[in-house]
């Protein structure tokens, strides 16, 4: 089953990190990405550009309303994601715990809706 690991963190704190700290942070992500790629379960993922680049679109009564910024102002912002394919929630959760985004920030784990009905023991029907 495919799961999204959505990485939420304080963007301002991240961008204000001293150079040395920042490169340590990126190194941690590179190590994590290496590990997850090697395991064969990685299906995609990327860091997102800062929320200053975000544009939100809503269509109301047929009218498109375009606004600057993310859909909601929050303390933690979506900063990146991984898409992984593993058998169970437990495996996804243990990748989330290894993801540097969960140390200090948080990683939300969400399964993707897939075409097949999945059941507990993994038999697709």
């Amino acid at each position: 089953m495919q799961y999204m690991l959505l990485i939420y963190g304080n963007e301002a704190a991240w961008t204000n990190l001293p150079e040395a700290e920042l490169s340590k942070g990126y190194q941690a992500y590179m190590d994590f990405t290496d590990e997850i790629v090697k395991s064969g379960c990685m299906r995609g993922g990327s860091e997102l550009k800062p929320i200053a680049t975000a544009t939100t679109v809503r269509v109301k009564n047929g009218k498109t309303i375009t606004t600057d910024g993310p859909f909601a102002e929050t303390k933690e912002q979506l900063g990146g994601y991984y898409l992984i394919d593993v058998d169970t929630l437990d495996e996804a959760l243990s990748w989330a715990a290894k993801c540097p985004g969960s140390w200090g920030g948080s990683v939300e784990v969400r399964p993707l809706v897939q075409d097949v009905e999945v059941s507990l023991n993994g038999v697709s029907t």
Binding site: M1, D87, T88, L89, D90, L93, S94, V109, P111, V118, S119, L120, N121, G122, V123, S124, T125
Partner: protein
Amino acid sequence: MLARTIETVQRREGGRILAGLIRLCGNFDVAEDALQEAYIRALADWPKNGLPNNPGAWLTRVAQRIWLDRRRHEQKLDVLTDEALELLVADTSAVDENQNHIVDDQLRLIFTCCHPALAPVSQAALALNTICQLNVAEIARAFLESETTIAQRLVRAKRKITETRIPYEVPTPELLPARLDAVLSVIYLVFNEGYTASYANKLIRVDLCSEAIRLIQLLNTLMPNQAEAMGLEAMMQLHHARRDARQDAAGNLIPLDEQDRSEWHTVAIQDATRLLNSAMRLSQPGAYQIEAAIAALHCTALQASDTDWPQISALYGALWRHRPTDVIALNAAVAYALAFSIDGGLARIEKIAARGTLANYHLLYAAKADLLRQKGCLDLARTAYENAIARCENQTEKRYLEKRLQSL
């Protein structure tokens, strides 16, 4: 009569049968439906053909057959052939005779119900529903919630298990300590809910306490030599052993030091103390064992004045190192007051109060009031009791505090 028999079989074996069915069908709802249908068939079949030698095995077989027939009917057999399914069912019947499989299935069910991806209250409701086989109405009554709320909670929890693929497995060794901890806190939650329901007028709901004890006993049977699980069982048994002495006939709370100790269940206390000793010999110290040791010191004092407060005070110190919460600090302060110095204890309570986390916790004020009363500061005690009463939601505890206030 027959309905009673089925109910007994359901209570005794339903959880175990369901655990196996879930493994077979791979889905909680489908397994439960099949088992329900099997109970209905038993109502029709048993009066005609007599009670089967092994009612549990009969129900298992019939439920498996029902599931198989439904799969056929729904023509979901494109993946598995009829023959393969028959073999699967036959195989499950065979392994059901095998004790190891029964143990594994029940453990799987316990760990899945208590998965940390589910909300704690949902974990508790699900465990009571599947393992203890309590129905929605019984769980609703236990948690003082509406049946709709409980039913929704169960539906959502089961849906999350299926949709996010929470594994139906006993956790791997590296995950086990944390996951076992989660299971123990769910069982403790159920017990506590029974022991002092914060909104109930009735202080102790024995049913819920008994269910929690049943769960922890099952866990300790299925997975022996887990010191903390043994500690939790000992602790709950020790608290439960005092149930008849905690309330008078009118339902009024009787505090520990005024309880009639001849009403305590001494055999249960001895058993629990023995269990705690075996737990401690495993050299895996932990908070539940410390709490059990504190309860054991209370339970083994022949009269209130014999209580070994210095030892209890030391144990609360140890407990606080495991769980550094202000509630534990409050208990430690009271034990310190009774062991060494009331003024010293009061000073500690003031420090805790200054932190503000327990500003709405009635026992903070009640503890302070009791110590002030013992010290003879009646005016200050009066204010403290009033503060406690204003924050207390349990009617039985409230009546007790009011009585204390009037007696000043």
